[in-house]
Symmetry: C2
Subunit: 191 residues, 2 copies
Amino acid sequence: MSTPATRLRADARRNVEGIRTAALDVFRERGLNSPLEEVARAAGVSKGTIYHRFGGRQGLIEAVVEELVAERIRGIGVAAGEIADPVERFEHYLREIWLLQYDEPAVNDVLLRALPGSEPVAALCEHAAETAARFLADAQATGVVRADVTPEDVDLLIWERGIIARACGQQPREGYRRRLEYTLRGLRAAA
Amino acid sequence: MSTPATRLRADARRNVEGIRTAALDVFRERGLNSPLEEVARAAGVSKGTIYHRFGGRQGLIEAVVEELVAERIRGIGVAAGEIADPVERFEHYLREIWLLQYDEPAVNDVLLRALPGSEPVAALCEHAAETAARFLADAQATGVVRADVTPEDVDLLIWERGIIARACGQQPREGYRRRLEYTLRGLRAAA
DNA sequence: GCGTTACTTGACGTCATGGTCAAGAACCGT
DNA sequence: ACGGTTCTTGACCATGACGTCAAGTAACGC
């Protein structure tokens, strides 16, 4: 949709942009399962137009996922990568991902792999999982993080947080954050 | 419904029992939000009958919640109460509740307070929360469990597990169990 | 300006769920 | 075995979502 083979008419271009913007808003607020009619209303078009322009929910998601979440997930990986201490790096990465899951419900719809068949989304998950695995291995090498934690455990801890954050509703961020630390602390080897 | 003012007709009594049994099955399998039509089918009656006999989902739940989960939740409290070591007692209680949440999806619908306005269900939650708080306080008194953990934290840790267990799907029990230990370990004070 | 074509609309069909109720079936006392 | 009463049924309405398409509207090229 970004560089169409045949140039779009002016109103169509306007609408595509409007829908993208509206989708960012609505998806941020309510997650990727929001009714498309909601997006349509916010964009001031009818839902038929969304189907025309994006082919349905999947296409729409793929059109906004980069701006919506991919950048931020990758940003966290990069920021963590700059931390020298492996344990701190690993824990910082996990903590930030977990907080992002709280702050952006849409992240969970991606991380929960709730969108089978979407190549860009799958790639994003893959990338996040690999980053986590790398950081985990480094952190375990120091002996501070338990050796019996598997990369799959980390994936699932992220998955679990996604489920929680999605259901979080009005839970205060501070308590959520504090409970993250319990799990993080539990990943360390006994002293 | 257990001791009706006016004696029920034979077919009605038969149906009430059939519906209760079917509800136990269906609720165990799919949680307390299963379509009532499902229960009706399993009981070999039509859904109208359920509305007649139990007044709707809420009434039906109240009619089975005792057998479905209350007994087991209380059982865990009692069993834990017999453990002498406060830390072990606290951890055992939490672990068993968490596992029950995995094993019986219906427990979560109760513990998640997803049934506003149901007195017996609310009482059950209350009881579980109080038990947990008591065990927590004892465990903290030994200095082994972090002093900054609040009873509300424990409530919410249980709540979080409920959300997770409910979404768990095909996740293997063993991994679920292992990840519980991370959190449990995280509740202990640093050594 | 005007015809052609791209674009948009919103009503429609569908599905899954919750809940209701008039009409018919089953039971029970006599 | 029959009448009155209790009980059950399943069609019915409502809601809220998805996805489609014929018909109407608006932009573009000339």
